[in-house]
Symmetry: C2
DNA sequence: CGCACCCTTGAAATTACTCAAGTTCAGTGG
DNA sequence: CCACTGAACTTGAGTAATTTCAAGGGTGCG
């Protein structure tokens, strides 16, 4: 469990393949001159905590690679995953409005992210309408994702919820391949127990809607047509 | 089912009791000069639709009185309520980033709101850092509410969810009184059936955690201590 | 008075949870 | 090279919670 950090420079941003989807998508070079604190590249192993709910927010993280889960702990100690943050998404946006983090962010896989000090955001927000526009877009994305989460992953029975989660995880992958988080996390996302998550995955596998790509039951190829049917409760 | 609309003027805003919590909380009078399109006062009867998912967004609504539900329709035609919008909250914020509405907004009770044209927001956003600050605050509130919704109202069993909903509905009311929406809406908020919602409400009533204030089973006084226990699954 | 509309309740069927073993697999150390 | 171990996944059986389908109240309004 380790995190590696090293500083980035303007050139790195300029050549970043993710920039189109990032906060800095449409900044020009005079905007970059306004950055007065160093932005760091961060590589976190799976299971590393990026920040904890309630703690003082100092950074915003834009994920370039890997998957981060945002979790809330319940009174009984169990965790509920409230959102997944993937490449192009931002974790910790709330600190630009609130000082402290509203949830805990934990790496599900190895994660590569840019760690941006709050001060950079604040300065750019005032000086650059381009950054400001990106920020609003990110707020909207986050809110829409949260709403989708309620509508898709917290409604219907376990089969429907899992089918919708799988479709969301493959996203736009043309090969229909995906990495499924541990069953415990699947349960925490769908609001079901680990056992029910496991049983439902196993059932999808037997029915041929999920085809194993490894021996650990983590990588799959999907039958999108069948999953869409299952997501709607047909069959 | 009817909506009444009439124009508002700066003086109305200045004397508005809700202004502290509204988008215009800290605008000064030069900011108000920038308003180039009329803001309207809107009174909508219960069950009126304020806007529909996917339609072109032209207005942002700040609720002054009453309750609005934001819903998404599922493939089977049923509805899932994804958020409640009450006094001080905003419905339709997403159009400041996206052009179209992400959900349908329906009045649960009679609703009084200010209907603000998008153009006003856009103009003020560029010219007034004070409005801009309010907007960010509202984005954050909306996102946090959505996250809370997932963590509180979509986790645990029906008793826990209902208890948490009731505590949220009383809010900071000192008398512990609340208006409970129709059972169908309660179900659509908690992701349970109308019947289960009804049974659980009835059960809380029998146990004395809910005390009737009317004969229709809509107005109640609550036993906050008992509800907190139920929300945590104790007993 | 009677019609709507919603809320309530019952009973059976289904779904999900709980508790408790097994199983598999990757990594470790002999 | 192989047995051991830990972690995660799977499965079973009994129980609990929820849904489903169906019928029976209550209240307000025309």
């Amino acid at each position: 469990m380790h995190v590696k950090i090293h500083p980035l420079h303007e050139n790195d941003c300029a050549s970043c393949g993710m920039r189109e989807q990032s906060l800095f998508a449409n900044l020009n070079s005079s905007d970059f001159q306004l950055i007065n604190q160093p932005i760091h590249d961060l590589v976190a192993e799976a299971h590393t905590t990026l920040f904890a709910e309630g703690s003082q927010g100092e950074y915003v993280f834009t994920v370039r690679k890997g998957l981060v889960k945002l979790v809330r702990y319940q009174s009984d100690g169990s965790q509920r995953i409230i959102r997944l943050v993937g490449p192009g998404d931002i974790a910790g946006l709330e600190t630009t409005a609130n000082a402290s983090y509203d949830s805990t962010a934990i790496a599900v896989t190895e994660v590569q992210a840019c760690r941006i000090p709050l001060g950079v955001i604040q300065r750019l927000e005032n000086e650059s309408p381009r950054l400001h526009q990106q920020l609003v877009r990110k707020w909207h994305e986050a809110l829409k994702t949260a709403d989708d989460f309620i509508a898709d992953l917290a409604s219907g029975n376990a089969r429907q919820r899992l089918a919708r989660l799988l479709l969301r995880l493959v996203g736009s992958d043309v090969n229909g391949q995906l990495m499924l988080p541990p069953r415990e996390d699947v349960g925490a996302m769908l609001g079901i127990t680990t056992e029910t998550a496991s049983r439902t995955v196993a059932s999808f596998r037997r029915e041929g809607m999920l085809i194993d790509m490894d021996r650990q039951g983590r990588f799959f190829r999907i039958d999108a047509t069948a999953l869409h049917a299952a997501a709607n409760g047909s069959e």
